[in-house]
């Protein structure tokens, strides 16, 4: 009796409060949607915006690994140029990569950020959640310099249903898969940088190295528990590889990864290595980077994906020639928050990051003399100050192509990078990205199964056949067939439209 009365009062109270809140937040919510609509509708004003004298400030979120102490100093230097030239100023917010997914997702609930990288979560998710503002009208009216940066075909990679949702950034779109080997050991075995190796040769080398250096692991994961990031299968915009194309995306049938020959071949090697004690025993609970372990003298080599860059203390060999997965362009791209209250200004800021050489230089290298010096060959060296070192991870920035490269990367780094992108093989599904909305429940369930088995099988820690059998049974129950069918259907439709 007593309890019921208390509860009635408590619940009534909570309801009243909730209702009151409905009123309050309700208006805030509809205001948000209003601004969203305004964003979509005001695109025609993009051209007219330039004539207005008012300088608008745009918040730009960029992922980073480092402390970027001098972000404000660099932003001031950029603003000194951009306020007059483009009518916008920027506030640079550097967000740690480890916090990125969480923080940007919260930021996107309101207009606290205007321009940001779409990263870590598939672009299709951002689109489905209506987090990314369609940009095609802006792109259509963009300057010629901007249009020269990416071709229409390349922009297809960040489009969906006829809308361009974001602009790819400059980084390697394809990857070589190879073996990073301790440079001294490689020299002993006569293996050279850039040499091609087959998996059998890799295997022979590992056994030989293991014999000679029994105290070291012959092979360790590339990073943490991940043996290598990707191989010859294409997840079609899905980093979990639930339904893949085999053979570097050349075979157009969507298959269960665990049933592909590519996957079984790879794992038959790693399984053998693990059983014979070549692989780090703790592969599944490792938290170190493979190259750190090599440099610390704990490992001989690790598998790696790379493009035109080098690794300190290691030589790099090639096992799989460079190729680009379907969603290469969409993996990291820059776009505009749908809730942005000033999409036009945001676009101007975004555009200038791709076309203005001085601004690109500032955003990449910081301020000359303070953060870096230029060497005779046109490369840069960091100064004592560690206030701005984004050049070391220029691949997260919108476009660094105009900037001076770092000395470690060589004077022609960016030219090489662009050449690498143009020349590397491409998946036949390039530009396609799978939208999991229609099979969301099955997808969630399959992700869980994949998380359970993928790294374990890849590292060779568990028996291949029996584990795959077990995993496939779970996949079947989780509805993998539905996903593969949906993926195939979407892919066919995409190819037909090409």
């Amino acid at each position: 009796m007593k309890i019921r009365k208390f509860l009635a009062i408590a619940l009534a109270g909570a309801m009243t409060l909730s209702l009151a809140a409905c009123g309050g937040s309700g208006s805030a919510g509809s205001a948000g949607s209003g601004s969203g609509n305004a964003g979509g509708g005001s695109e025609s004003a993009a051209g007219a915006g330039e004539s207005t004298a008012e300088v608008e400030n745009v918040v730009v979120a960029i992922p980073t690994f480092f402390d970027v102490k001098d972000a404000q100093m660099v932003a001031d230097a950029i603003n000194a140029i951009s306020a007059e030239k483009y009518g916008v100023t920027v506030t640079l917010e550097f967000i740690a990569l480890g916090n990125w997914a969480q923080q940007t997702n919260l930021l996107l609930t309101s207009d606290e950020v205007d321009v940001l990288a779409f990263y870590q979560t598939p672009l299709t998710t951002f689109i489905k959640n209506n987090q990314a503002l369609p940009l095609e009208n802006y792109v259509a009216n963009a300057s010629d310099e901007f249009k020269a940066v990416w071709s229409d075909a390349e922009l297809q990679g960040t489009s969906m249903n006829g809308h361009i949702y974001s602009i790819p950034n400059l980084r390697n779109f394809g990857n070589i898969r190879g073996l990073d080997i301790d440079e001294n050991i490689a020299a002993e075995f006569g293996i050279e940088n850039g040499q091609h190796m087959t998996m059998d040769e890799v295997s022979d080398f590992l056994y030989a190295a293991h014999e000679k250096y029994p105290d070291r692991y012959a092979i360790v994961p590339q990073a943490g528990s991940s043996m290598v990031s990707g191989w010859t299968w294409d997840g079609l915009g899905d980093g979990k590889f639930i339904g893949v194309l085999e053979d570097c995306g050349q075979d157009l049938t969507v298959k269960n990864l665990f049933d592909t020959d590519d996957f079984r071949d790879f794992c038959s090697y790693t399984r053998k290595w693990y059983q014979d004690g070549l692989t780090m025993a703790d592969a599944l609970s490792n938290t170190e980077d493979g190259k750190n372990l090599i440099r610390a003298g704990k490992a001989v080599c690790c598998l790696e994906n790379y493009a035109v860059d080098t690794a300190e203390g290691c030589i790099r060999t090639i096992i799989i020639d460079p190729w680009a997965v379907s969603n290469s362009y969409a993996e990291l791209s820059y776009g505009i928050n749908t809730n942005s209250s000033k999409p036009d200004a945001a676009w101007k800021a975004l555009e200038m990051f791709y076309i203005d050489k001085d601004i690109c230089e500032l955003l990449t290298n910081g301020i000359e003399g303070t953060h870096y010096t230029v060497n005779e060959d046109g490369t840069t060296t960091f100064t004592e100050s560690d206030g701005y070192q984004m050049a070391a991870i220029a691949w997260v920035l919108p476009y660094s192509g105009y900037a001076h490269p770092m000395a470690a990367n060589g004077p022609t780094y960016f030219e090489d990078l662009i050449e690498f992108n143009n020349s590397c093989a491409k998946s036949k599904g390039l530009g396609f990205a799978f939208d999991s909305t229609s099979v969301a429940n099955q997808y969630t369930a399959c992700c869980n199964v994949m998380d359970k088995y993928y790294t374990a099988i890849m590292s060779g820690t568990v028996d291949l056949e029996s584990t795959i059998e077990q995993a496939n049974a779970e996949f079947e129950a989780a509805g993998l067939a539905d996903i593969i069918a949906a993926k195939q259907e979407q892919l066919d439709a995409f190819l037909a439209a090409q």
């Binding site: 109270g13 740690a96 919260l106 390697n172 170190e288 070192q389």
Partner: protein
Amino acid sequence: MTAKHRIGQGILNFIFVLLCVAAVAPFLLLLSSSLTEEATLLREGYNFFPSKFSLESYAYLMGSASKITKGYGITVFVTLVGTVCGMLMTFLFAYPLSRRELPHRTFFSFFVFFTMLFNGGLVPTYMMWTQTFHIRNTLWALIIPGLLMNGFNIIMMRSFFNSSIPNELVEAARIDGAGEYRVLFQVVLPLSKPMIATIGLMIGLRYWNDWTNSLYYITDENLYSIQAILNTIISNVQFLSSGQAIGSAYSAANLPSVGIRMAIAVIGIIPILCIYPFFQKYFVKGIVVGGVKG
């Protein structure tokens, strides 16, 4: 009898020494790995005694001293302000709840209890604090959301008032003509020292160890507390080791090593270990657990 007693005490002390070893050993492991040379740590794993002693992790932290000292400053400031405000609010809320004169006492009790069971989830809470109050990237964001007051502390404090503040004393003060606020601050407050110390320590601990508010509301690294710095490093490492990083152009060598992560964890714990003994005698007296309706 006394001999039997002595044996009993001996056994008890022995058990407690074991318990303490179990509690402290992992901490020593942490300490020792923060004092081990990096390459050795990678090669040999963690050891209770550093096989190759090195202060490089701490030297590195001193090197980024401005960041670490700033982080300490933020942590101390936020802990102090948050604890004082939180204490005051909890105190002012719990005391009336303990008084029979309060109308709708049961309603208010449930008003508190309800918050212990239900919450709106991250996104609505985030929108509330950022869109209405605009606390993002301010120190308020580290102090206000979530941590200021919680139901458990209120109910505990209320139980303390019920059990440890004699009603006659309050009545006597009121007959002398003291108003409610005077009763509260001149009669009740001096008697509540153990409670204040206990709840203060509990609130303070939460502030000291909190990193979630930084994760949700802070992107300006000038406002990072010690725990936020540690958490950011660890989540960066986790992100890299998850194999999700695209391209290969990142330079993992720039990431703080295991030794440094351990060193930050150590310097985050030490101040609490130094302060706790001073609170201890109150701590035990202050904890009173009772029902919701009281």
